[in-house]
């Protein structure tokens, strides 16, 4: 009984962390069609911003939930103005440019923070469930990602800005004809995507040892999740994160962590073989 509860929490946690890792990319790649290979580095920067802010005496939750997304979003804004805006609609070029960016960010982070592993300790204590101890921070991650998805849904569905952004991503020329500036909307959307990546990196920072190359560990999972999700932004994100999270955790428990990782990849291959356009091209069609 206790064990099944622990397993349930771990599965929810795995799904939640996949949602977190992929949310920023879902906006930048899923919506804007920018293949952002520097996504992992945006997350890494979120982590470093948090650690630095905490080191300066800022409350850890403020650092994670406010400062890190803001600063990484601003960095994203600069990147968009200098590089990305020249490349919209050119998939391969964005890929090359953002790959270069990721190398630059790794280099800069190494220069500033050095190459040793750093980190902060988890701000929420663990607690007992029957005979088991669970990491209390898992619940925090689950809550953050639920709020994140709800927030994204509310913005895209309920606000005028969300509607304009969605419209612009589909037909920029039409949005322009209606009097909106696609240039600005793209800029704002990229800011949001970067901020989401920064938030993910920040929230995960207390769980991991951070090095400038940490971003590399997330990038593959984020792309797999977004691609398997398919065209619908939020339904795709949640459904593919749920499938992969459940599969990898079940195999991790039943067999080993190596098999868990492999199972995730095998699941992705099968899923994309069965639904080449992603889950939401077949199921949940027309959903957001």
């Amino acid at each position: 009984m206790d064990l099944s509860f622990v397993i349930l929490v771990e599965i929810l946690y795995a799904v939640a962390s996949l949602v977190l890792i992929s949310a920023g990319l879902a906006v930048v790649f899923g919506m804007m069609k920018v293949i952002n290979l520097a996504h992992g580095e945006f997350m890494m920067m979120g982590g470093y911003v948090t650690i630095t802010a905490v080191g300066l005496g800022v409350n850890v939750f403020v650092a994670m939930l406010v400062i890190a997304p803001l600063i990484v979003g601003l960095i994203g804004l600069v990147v968009e103005r200098l590089v990305i805006r020249h490349l919209y609609g050119r998939l391969v070029d964005t890929m090359l440019a953002t790959w270069g960016l990721s190398l630059v960010f790794i280099g800069l982070a190494t220069m500033i923070f050095g190459n040793t592993t750093t980190g902060i300790s988890t701000p929420i204590p663990g607690f007992a469930v029957g005979a088991y101890q669970i990491n209390g921070y898992n619940f925090f991650i689950i809550v953050v990602s639920v709020l994140l998805v709800a927030g994204m849904y509310a913005v895209l569905r309920g606000t005028r800005g969300g509607l304009i952004a969605r419209g612009t991503m589909q037909r920029a020329d039409m949005a322009a004809a209606l009097g909106y500036s696609p240039d600005r909307i793209y800029m704002a959307t990229f800011f949001c995507g970067s901020a989401l990546s920064g938030l993910a990196g920040a929230v995960l920072a207390p769980l991991v040892g951070l090095v400038p190359t940490s971003g590399g560990a997330y990038i593959a999972k984020a792309f797999i999740t977004v691609i398997a999700g398919g065209p619908a932004l939020i339904a795709g994100l949640v459904s593919s994160a749920a499938s992969f999270g459940v599969v990898s955790q079940i195999f991790t428990f039943a067999m080993s962590p190596v098999i868990g990782e492999v199972a995730l990849l095998v699941a992705a291959v099968i899923l994309l073989r069965a639904m080449p356009q992603g889950i939401t091209a077949r199921l949940f069609r027309g959903k957001l």
Binding site: V6, I7, T110, N115, G126, N135, Y137, L207, G209
Partner: protein, 406 residues
């Protein structure tokens, strides 16, 4: 063109040494020492202190009058954590720079790349890093701790402090796999039982389900040969789940790159380990070494296990050259095979003629407030794992890395 470059590099190395030291009275000709280390890239936390150890040791050797009345000159290459550069620079060192000895290599893969080149070109090679054991080659001398040297000491100590049931969490590549087998053997030898073993790819940083699995198996002790930044997360998540005071922890790798300074005291306190070196070793040699290091590098405190192994290796080589009274490869090997020994910051280090590995002191330690407090010193442990398979006296032509059957 290449000549210019070589002179430039050699000159730069000589300048760094010369600037800091009174110059030795020199014969015209220097002894050339090749160094290949990752001084940038992901492994630089290991490589930078090793490069500093090279500078320090060579400065000391020159200060003491050089070797054979000649100054030692370092020809150094930074391999930037890129395996391809290892073979390239190894070739360059032997064919162009014509060095007399090569010290360097960090990962096992880099060692194998260098080792074969050195063997072919007949250049003496020193590899000075904690590694998985089993290399048997007369041309190489190895100063790092092997799993048996370390695990044989650590397992009984950790089991005495906790209990008989052990769970192993290891990195999923040859170091982790081989070390896990040694742990299993010594757990059984000490009347214990391994209740579970899990391996983790090097980039896994999520250990939540593992922590639940470990609790299901309810061991008394977890031994964790985990490696690198992502794996450091385990120790953090373990503490975050509140497991630290419930099940004891030991590791064969934590602290080698000064990781204990990254973990907070609440996360690190009480983790047991066993190495050849700790900054906390209270010996005159270590105090003097740390003072010299700090003086040379502006107060820096990044010396760690493998930097010190490297430092031992350089001095062992110098001792071999002095004893041989020659820089010829064969003469130096024969001199070292007489069982040359030095006393360094990690204690006494002796060359084992049978395997060309080091016989050294292993210190049992416990992390306390971001330090590795030394609990007990086990003097002069032999590399029994490699000794079981390798006898260079009987087979001088051997060129194998043995996978030891346990």
């Amino acid at each position: 063109m290449s000549l210019n470059r070589r002179e430039l590099l050699g000159g730069a190395a000589a300048l760094t040494t010369a600037g800091l030291l009174p110059r030795v009275a020199l014969a015209a000709d220097t002894i050339r020492l090749g160094s290949i280390l990752d001084q940038s890239g992901p492994f630089d936390a290991y490589g930078k202190p090793m490069a500093m150890a090279t500078q320090l040791a060579v400065a000391e050797i020159n200060e003491a009058g050089g070797l054979l009345g000649r100054e030692v000159e370092v020809v150094a290459y930074d391999t930037q954590s890129d395996m391809a550069l290892y073979s390239q620079y190894a070739q360059q060192l032997t064919r162009q720079d014509r060095v007399d000895v090569v010290h360097g290599g960090i990962l096992s893969a880099s060692r194998e790349a260098i080792r074969q080149t050195m063997r072919k070109t007949g250049t003496l090679y020193f590899y000075n890093v904690l590694y998985e054991g089993g290399v048997c080659d007369r041309n190489i001398f190895i100063n790092g701790v092997t799993p048996a040297q370390q695990v044989e000491a650590l397992v009984p100590y950790a089991m005495n402090n906790s209990g008989k049931k052990v769970y192993i969490l290891a990195a999923d590549y040859n170091y982790g796999q081989i070390t896990a087998r040694w742990i299993e053997k010594f757990v059984r030898d000490n009347g214990g039982e391994v209740v579970g073993t899990d391996f983790f790819p090097l980039d896994v940083s999520d250990f939540g389900s593992t922590i639940a699995k470990v609790q299901t198996a309810a061991p008394d002790l977890v031994i964790a040969p985990l490696v690198g930044g992502p794996h450091l997360s385990f120790f953090r998540q373990w503490a975050a789940a509140g497991m630290k005071d419930k099940i004891a922890l030991a590791s064969t790798t934590l602290g080698v790159g000064n990781e204990h300074k990254v973990l907070t005291p609440e996360e690190g306190n009480g983790i047991m380990c066993a190495y050849n070196y700790s900054q906390e070793l209270d010996t005159p040699e270590n105090r003097e070494f740390m003072a010299r290091w700090a003086a040379m590098f502006d107060g820096d405190q990044s010396m760690h296990e493998i930097a010190v192994s490297h430092y031992h290796g350089l001095h062992t080589w110098a001792e071999g050259v002095r004893k041989a009274d020659s820089i010829e490869r064969e003469a130096v090997i024969e001199a070292l095979e007489t069982g040359v020994s030095i006393t360094g910051p990690g204690g006494k280090v002796t060359v084992d003629p049978q395997t060309h590995h080091a016989i050294l002191d292993v210190h049992l330690m416990e992390m306390r407030d971001q330090k590795m407090a030394v609990i007990e010193t086990l003097p002069q442990r032999a590399p029994i794992d490699t000794q079981a398979v390798c006898d260079l006296g009987a087979n001088p032509d051997d060129n194998t890395q043995y996978e030891i059957e346990i």
